[in-house]
């Protein structure tokens, strides 16, 4: 692992999120300075160049998510200002410009996570706010992104869900061979839940990923890649990174074709306390084979499975000062 390049994000406040586009040749950074900046990769020079910077929200921009390129250059952002905005790159007199094509105002709290659904579902956006409501919006006509409809909304937990301390997070299952599913981190309950649609297309909380000793800060559903099981990673306030394996529950009736709340057997196959302090983010690579986790120890850890399914830390990137060694 080597440091290949770096660039100055030029934000006037802390960055909250960095998101690559589908090809990895574009980056969006968002910050507490209320701006989104887009960076393009200059392949011949091997550097990242600033493309555009624009004020996106009236408060800190917390997350961004790129849509699949078949919908054009489309980005969604969520903010402390309780809104989600969908942006589209357009040309005006040969000048590139990011235009806000839709704004969803969420009444009851910061929008904490935003993620486009896998593209086979159409142009759909899942969001979750501090009020514990997951909402799914869809662009009804993908050639005209001005029209969005909220097609679903469901609470992550029962009862009053506003949680001052914790945050909610979500991640879509990208497999096209199952019904639509997502995993949602349920702040105050210290668990993550799998939600999926029942036979009436109503989203229901199904399996629970338990065993967390604190708020689940982040969840990530691994791309399935034809495997017979699913993997979900969680980042927790208790300093642990956990990997859950979901295998078909042959006893639960799933194979008989009926809808059941228990479609999967959930097993925690890895539980790492290496960060020892709060872990904030987990993310899988696109083949679902490498997991990154990052936390308050100032370290990014990369995890990978051995042939027998034993997960091991392969590499660490540290923000602390240390010897610079060229590694191959």
């Amino acid at each position: 692992m080597n440091q290949v390049t770096k660039f100055d994000g030029t934000h006037e406040d802390l960055i909250h999120d960095v998101a690559f586009n589908y090809y990895g040749n574009r980056l969006a950074t968002c910050s507490s300075d209320q701006k989104i900046k887009i960076w393009d990769y200059n392949e011949s020079l091997g550097i990242w160049e600033s493309n555009i910077s624009f004020k996106a929200h009236s408060c800190a921009v917390l997350k961004t998510s790129w849509a699949h390129p078949e919908y054009g250059q489309v980005l969604a952002s969520c903010s402390f200002d309780r809104s989600v905005i969908v942006w589209e790159e357009s040309y005006h007199d040969a000048v590139k410009k990011w235009t806000s094509v839709a704004t969803f105002r969420e009444g009851n709290g910061t929008v904490q996570d935003v993620e486009f659904a896998p593209n086979y579902l159409g142009l759909r956006l899942g969001i979750v706010a501090a009020d514990g409501l997951v909402k799914i919006y869809e662009a009804m006509d993908i050639t005209n992104l001005l029209q969005w409809t909220m097609i679903d909304s469901f609470p992550v937990s029962e009862g009053p869900s506003k949680d001052e301390e914790g945050n909610h997070c979500l991640s879509w299952c990208t497999s096209r061979f199952t019904s639509q599913m997502m995993v949602v981190g349920c702040a105050k309950e210290h668990i993550a839940k799998i939600f999926r649609q029942d036979l009436n297309n109503k989203w229901q909380a199904c399996e629970t990923l338990s065993g967390h000793g604190g708020v689940v800060h982040d969840v990530s559903w691994a791309p399935n890649m034809g495997r017979s099981y699913h993997l979900i990673a969680t980042a927790c306030k208790d300093g642990h990174v956990r990997i859950f394996k979901l295998t078909d529950d042959t006893q639960g009736g799933a194979l008989a074709g009926g809808w059941t709340r228990k479609m999967f057997n959930v097993t925690c196959i890895a539980d790492f306390a290496d960060h020892s302090v709060e872990v904030w983010r987990v993310e899988w690579n696109i083949t679902g084979t490498i997991l990154s986790s990052s936390g308050d120890d100032g370290k990014v850890r990369l995890w990978k499975a051995t042939y027998t399914g034993d997960w091991k830390c392969m590499s660490v990137v540290s923000a602390e000062e240390g010897p610079h060694v060229f590694q191959r």
Binding site: T110, G226, A319, R328
Partner: protein
């Protein structure tokens, strides 16, 4: 003197160990197959594995000097990371945990907080040709059966070693010109790595894969040792030869001993011959003569001809050695001469005492005690050597790999190679699988399979290797080829990953598309085509966009695009439809495109004065359902000049009836407003009401009625499309 090996291993090969510096995240432990003989190994590996996790420190450190991580994170800061699709690179940045609005006082941030670092396990440029060449060899061997056509297989398979050697030579050349190399350290690391490849590959080949069963392993091992272990300094031999009183040279006997231990018969015979020729002391010369005679009988691959008498000959030679060891004249060669004879008589104690490494001792014991030993029976001798030379703490990864190979334990070999480099383990696993060493019916492998993972060992390592190449998107063809050849999971990975490959130029895009098409990656093909279509549409290249949408089977998007084209054509009149559609191949079968094409041809015929053909096409558009109903009104309006043609009745009775039916279907429909919408606007009244539009069609209705009367009088005139019948000329 023995011929110098083609490639002399550098000193680095001898001190080679699995230092953290040359491993990537992909080469760290990737296999962990338990078997009873390696429990201790596993414990050792776990200990080592824990300490060998690589840590990259960001430069400059976002935390800075003298600041504790704890105090840094208290100020709303943490570290964040995200994967770059396609390359597995990670972007690392200082992340604000909470929004600035949650803090009453605005916090200060600096450039240190705003730097985004990109980190990856990059591949050195010099290795790219090696990767591509070995990928070619992989493709040639992976589908072949070593037992079916062994010679063909061998021809392809041997190229692995040839490519390794070529790359090694290139690296040696580069290291000679180190001054000219910007990154000499990187080159040295690469050299170490490839020397490791070369050494492990050749030893594996000798033990596991050789088809040359007639050649005993003892000779193959000593040949391997000569080529891949830099324990013997050939320069010392040259110095000894250049000296005058050779037997008194301090390095004479140690060099002779080492050559004997390594089975370098020719070298030692040459030196002793030269020494004998120049020797002035008769007694010493006598002793050397006797010694030389014995040396000439040292077992070699040439002396072990398969005539069934090799062992007999060897026994006889050993007796000669024993005899010579006892003759008094040997004392003239001193203690060192006796030690040399002890080596030749297979005195294990002396061999272990004199050998510089366990490999040297193993080579000598094998050669002088049991030269005909089968490769399945090496373990007892190996254990003696390892116990004498290797303490647990000193055992390097390369040692462990070599020992596993000599133990003929394919699984253990792969496990250790998995810690060495993904290239090596992937290709070895592929070849092992073909030779049947990774047969899933093996009980140990069944244990692993029962854990519930969906892939076999070989596929797992091939996928791993493919992923390790992803940091360089220019290697997409090799990456795709490996994934394609690693089972259904590999293919699923490929199907997703290839969609993320930046297409860049249209040449590359078409290569990627061709690859997907050739390998039935239909989902990827659709996805890539759809993205390309959107991009072409954005650039105004509608014909290309239509082609890609047709390929991605998005008929709705094709319809939308053809509608856009039609509307532009109808509104501006300046658009040349035929030109716009020219780049779409004629064989493209799509109703929307066919309609546009026929409509454009109708206009072209009319413009060219070919009224007859224009009329045929117009009727065909309406009657063959080729034209969507929303364009019927437009087509009927287009019929006006043909209906008004005074020289010829263009439409016969039947066609006129059809056109009248179409007209009535349009104006009588509940979707009338929609159907009349495409009618061209009038320059004087840019906004037309439905009534005003219908008014335009009333003119058509009138002319149709008149044409009906004319056709009844002058029938028939419009022939079917394929006929060349002429229209009826008016006689009045």
């Amino acid at each position: 003197m023995a011929a110098l090996p083609l490639i002399q291993p550098s000193n680095s090969a001898a001190r080679f160990s699995a230092s953290a510096a040359k491993r990537s995240i992909f080469s760290a432990p990737t296999v962990d197959i338990n078997d009873e003989s390696t429990e201790q190994d596993l414990l050792k590996e776990q200990e080592m594995g824990h300490s060998s996790v690589l840590t990259l420190h960001l430069d400059p450190s976002p935390i800075g000097k003298g600041v504790s991580v704890g105090s840094w994170t208290k100020n709303n800061r943490t570290i964040g990371a995200t994967f770059r699709p396609c390359t597995n690179e990670i972007a690392v940045y200082v992340a604000g945990k909470k929004a600035a609005e949650e803090f009453p006082i605005k916090q200060q941030s600096s450039i240190k907080d705003n730097t985004v670092f990109l980190c990856q396990a990059s591949i050195p440029e010099s290795r790219i040709p090696f990767i591509n060449q070995t990928f070619g060899v992989f493709l040639n061997t992976t589908t072949k059966d070593p037992y079916h056509l062994p010679e063909v297989y061998r021809r392809h398979y041997e190229q692995y070693y040839e490519v390794i050697q070529r790359y090694l030579l290139q690296l040696y050349e580069q290291s000679k010109n180190e001054m000219a190399i910007v990154d000499a350290t990187a080159n040295a690391q690469e050299l170490e790595l490839v020397e490791g490849f070369s050494s492990i590959w050749k030893l594996s080949e000798s033990v596991f894969l050789t088809t040359d069963d007639k050649k005993p392993i003892a000779f193959m091992f000593s040949e391997w040792l000569a080529a891949h272990d830099a324990g013997l300094d050939l320069e010392v031999g040259k110095t000894i030869l250049a000296s005058t009183e050779r037997t008194l040279h301090p390095h004479f006997w140690p060099y002779i001993h080492q050559c004997l231990l390594r089975g370098m018969r020719e070298s030692v015979v040459f030196i002793v011959e030269q020494t004998l020729n120049d020797e002035t002391d008769d007694k010493v010369a006598d002793a050397l003569e006797g010694f030389l005679k014995v040396l000439q009988g040292i077992p070699s691959s040439e002396s072990f001809v398969p005539d069934g008498k090799s062992l007999e000959r060897h026994k006889k030679w050993q007796e000669d050695c024993e005899e010579f060891s006892k003759v008094p004249q040997l004392s003239h060669l001193g203690e060192d001469g006796k030690k040399a004879m002890a080596i030749l008589t297979g005195n294990v104690e002396i061999i272990l005492d004199l050998a510089a490494s366990w490999e040297e001792a193993f080579s000598a014991i094998l050669l002088y005690t049991n030269p005909d030993c089968s490769r399945y029976d090496l373990l007892p001798m190996l254990k003696i050597c390892i116990a004498s030379y290797l303490q647990d703490s000193e055992e390097t990864l390369l040692d462990r790999i070599k020992i596993a190979i000599l133990e003929m334990d394919a699984i253990k070999t792969l496990r250790h190679c998995g810690n060495f480099h993904p290239w090596l383990v992937a290709h070895l696993a592929d070849v092992f699988q073909q030779y049947g060493y990774l047969d899933m019916s093996d009980l140990r492998l069944q244990d692993i399979a029962s854990i519930g993972w969906d892939t076999n060992i070989r596929d797992f390592f091939i996928m791993n290797h493919a992923q390790s190449l992803m940091s360089n998107p220019n290697l997409w063809e090799a990456i795709s080829g490996y994934l394609l050849n690693s089972g259904h999971i590999g293919k699923a990975m490929l199907s997703e990953w290839i969609c993320h490959v930046p297409l860049g130029s249209s040449r590359k895009a078409h290569k990627v598309l061709r690859f997907c098409k050739d390998n039935n990656l239909n989902d990827s093909l659709r996805s890539i085509n759809r993205v390309m279509a959107v991009e072409e549409e954005r650039r105004g290249q509608y014909a290309l966009a239509i082609q890609h949408f047709i390929a991605s089977r998005d008929n709705d998007r094709v319809a939308k695009l053809t509608d856009n084209l039609m509307v532009s054509y109808l509104q501006s009149g300046g658009l040349d439809l035929e030109d716009a559609l020219a780049s779409i191949p004629d064989h493209t079968s799509n109703d929307h495109v066919e309609f546009l094409r026929s409509y454009a041809k109708f206009h072209q015929d009319y413009k060219n004065g070919d009224v007859r053909n224009a009329g045929r096409k117009l009727v065909d558009l309406l009657t063959s359902s080729r034209a969507p109903k929303k364009y019927w009104a437009v087509i009927l309006l287009d019929a006006l000049p043909l209906l008004e043609n005074k020289q010829m009745v263009v439409f016969d009775t039947k066609d006129t009836y059809e056109m009248m039916r179409c007209l009535e279907e349009v104006v009588g429909s509940q979707h009338k407003a929609e159907y009349l919408q495409p009618l061209p606007k009038n320059a004087s009244s840019p906004t037309l009401t439905v009534e005003m539009r219908e008014q335009q069609l009333n003119v058509v209705r009138l002319l149709l009625v008149r044409n009906l009367a004319r056709s009844l009088v002058h029938a028939p005139r419009v022939a079917p499309l394929d006929s060349d019948a002429n229209g009826t000329m008016m006689t009045d």
